[in-house]
């Protein structure tokens, strides 16, 4: 039942099996790390932390046991590229994890797969079994004495916040998936208190491509601060929704042309936690320095009610809030109330300003990314679509 949305032209299709790992193992771990650093690869989950720096910090953290965790808790609304990668390119992900283990010196890897993707599990287990049989996992991988590494799959249980790396680790440890205060970061105090790298599914796959095709190839694509290619999950009002590969730094307008979404009035980039880009700003670029994204692009056609969009996102956050800190727990329902007032045409400009300042408080005072991001969509819709949302004739 997993429909094909993959373009045959994806870089992932052209990577020879084992070419990244094989190339990494020829030289000492520092060499592979250097190549990843030269590529400028940044975390593909959306936050954009430099991958090589994360790995380097984990190398430097003292500890006998180190862990490589693949964050497959793809819960951001509008994101489905990890599902496609896990379905069609699982080997790349495991290969990337193995490279990570080689670089940081880990023996144990965990894929944290979201509960909603349970149907992918047996496929992933089969790939793991095959890799063990091929000596790409297990003991003395590739015949390299002392390089032992294996991967286990652990399931999430329907909590969006567990996509946040410290909440993910809490969940793995058998706790409620509540984010921790940072620092300490997982690179020194991660799973069971050990140095841990947590990377997105796509990041691991790109690591393999970089080692196979060279850092130069990767950093010649994209912008200076956002190098390389990225997968985008495109949905909403466009003629060809699906997973696409584009260079970082593509403008929203160029992207819309590719997917048949011209004429859109707004595009939500980065999912519920991202921002709403109105038509007037379609020349902006999708890159960490401008409009960042984990890959989610949702297109809104001219007929869409932007208030409904804001309401849907806020309802999502109200449902997914872990309730730990006050700004997020109490703020989100208050914003939903505000959206309902706007829908009924009963919201004064003054109150709207108060709602916006509440949103800004949530951005500043919430403990984790979820609460800090929750008001984003609301605030950008209020900013760009005041004409549409104010003075409605109530229903």
């Amino acid at each position: 039942m997993i429909a094909e949305t993959t373009h045959g032209s994806l870089t992932f299709c052209s990577i020879e099996p084992d070419s990244g790992l094989g190339s990494a193992l020829e030289r000492p771990p520092a060499d592979a790390l250097g190549r990843i650093e030269a590529s400028g690869l940044r975390g593909r989950g959306g936050a954009g932390f430099p991958t090589s720096l994360k790995w380097e910090l984990a190398i430097k953290s003292p500890g006998e046991y180190k862990y490589v965790i693949c964050n497959a808790d793809e819960g951001e609304p509008g994101t489905f590229k990890d599902r496609v990668i896990l379905s069609d390119f699982a080997d790349l992900v495991f290969e990337g994890m193995t490279i990570g283990a080689f670089v940081i010196g880990a023996k144990h890897g965990i894929v944290y797969l979201r509960g909603e993707y349970a149907y992918l599990r047996s496929h992933l287990e089969n790939v793991l079994r095959r890799r063990r049989a091929q000596n790409l996992l297990g003991k003395n991988i590739h015949g390299l004495e002392g390089f032992d590494f294996d991967v286990e799959i652990r399931m999430g249980a329907g909590a969006y916040v567990c996509g946040e790396e410290t909440a993910l680790i809490e969940s793995l440890e058998g706790q409620r998936g509540e984010p921790r205060n940072r620092p300490p970061f997982p690179i020194d105090t991660g799973y069971l208190g050990n140095p841990t790298i947590v990377n997105n599914v796509e990041t691991f796959a790109w690591v393999v491509c970089i080692l196979a095709k060279g850092a130069k190839w990767f950093n010649s694509i994209g912008t200076k601060k956002s190098t390389g290619l990225k997968l985008f999950s495109v949905s909403g009002d466009c003629s060809q929704p699906g997973v696409y590969e584009f260079p970082m730094g593509i403008t929203v307008a160029e992207l819309l042309k590719e997917v048949g979404g011209e004429g859109a009035k707004a595009v939500q980039v980065g999912g519920a936690a991202g921002q709403c880009v109105p038509a007037a700003q379609f020349e902006r670029t999708i890159a960490y320095e401008d409009v960042p994204t984990g890959g989610s692009v949702i297109v809104f056609g001219p007929g869409r009610d932007m208030l409904r969009v804001a309401e849907n996102f806020l309802e999502f956050f109200a449902d997914e809030s872990c309730g730990q800190c006050t700004p997020c727990r109490e703020g989100t329902p208050k914003l939903i109330e505000g959206v309902k007032m706007l829908q009924q045409g009963r919201c004064s400009m003054q109150y709207l300003h108060e709602l916006c300042s509440l949103g800004e408080t949530m951005q500043a005072a919430s403990k984790c990314g979820l609460g800090q991001m929750a008001p984003n969509a609301f605030l950008s819709i209020v900013e760009h679509f005041q004409d549409e949302i104010l003075g409605r004739i109530g229903r």
Partner: protein, 171 residues
């Protein structure tokens, strides 16, 4: 010999701890296994798990209450979760929701009296390009229409419980 349900449950839980270990990090896999086999996590099983893992039962209860896929109330053999996030919302999830309510005769959050179906919402199932999407236990359905709802439910009814499929898929 007559084995009471509670004794059987305890035996099963002990087997699970043999399989997953008795560390705290084994808690989620145990709870997930229990959901798969018994459709809910009772207070009694929370107590037994707590004893086996040497933690307070409140710890178990707090974990169960946190995750939406872990439930302390009995749910149906088939849990239907309809995606309500924006892309599915835009592709007509509302009509599918309505038809599910009509065909099952229960509201969202409810379970049919025969214990077959539980109806609920899901947040983004990652099928945004093929909405509306719906999860029935671990099976995903995409581009669901109100018309298709009936055949999906019939497909479930004709399956003799989830036991057969669940056991096969268990890894």
């Amino acid at each position: 010999m007559l084995v009471t349900e509670q004794e059987r449950l305890r035996d099963d839980l002990v087997k699970m701890t043999d399989r997953f270990g008795r560390d705290r990090s084994a808690l989620m896999p145990i709870l997930q296994e229990l959901m798969r086999t018994r459709y809910h996590i009772s207070e009694y099983s929370m107590q037994v798990i707590a004893d086996l893992l040497d933690i307070h039962p409140v710890e178990v209860s707090s974990v169960v209450s946190f995750y939406s896929f872990l439930e302390d109330k009995q749910r149906g053999q088939f849990v239907i979760r309809l995606c309500r996030t924006i892309a599915c919302d835009m592709s007509g999830e509302g009509n599918v929701a309505r038809q599910l309510v009509n065909d099952l005769g229960i509201e969202f959050g409810g379970t049919t009296p025969d214990g077959k179906f539980t109806l609920g919402w899901a947040n983004c199932l990652g099928m945004c390009d093929q909405g509306p999407a719906m999860l029935v236990n671990e099976k995903i359905y995409t581009q669901v229409t109100p018309e298709k709802v009936h055949s999906i439910l019939e497909e479930c009814r004709s399956t003799f419980g989830v036991h057969a499929t669940v056991d096969k898929e268990r890894c």
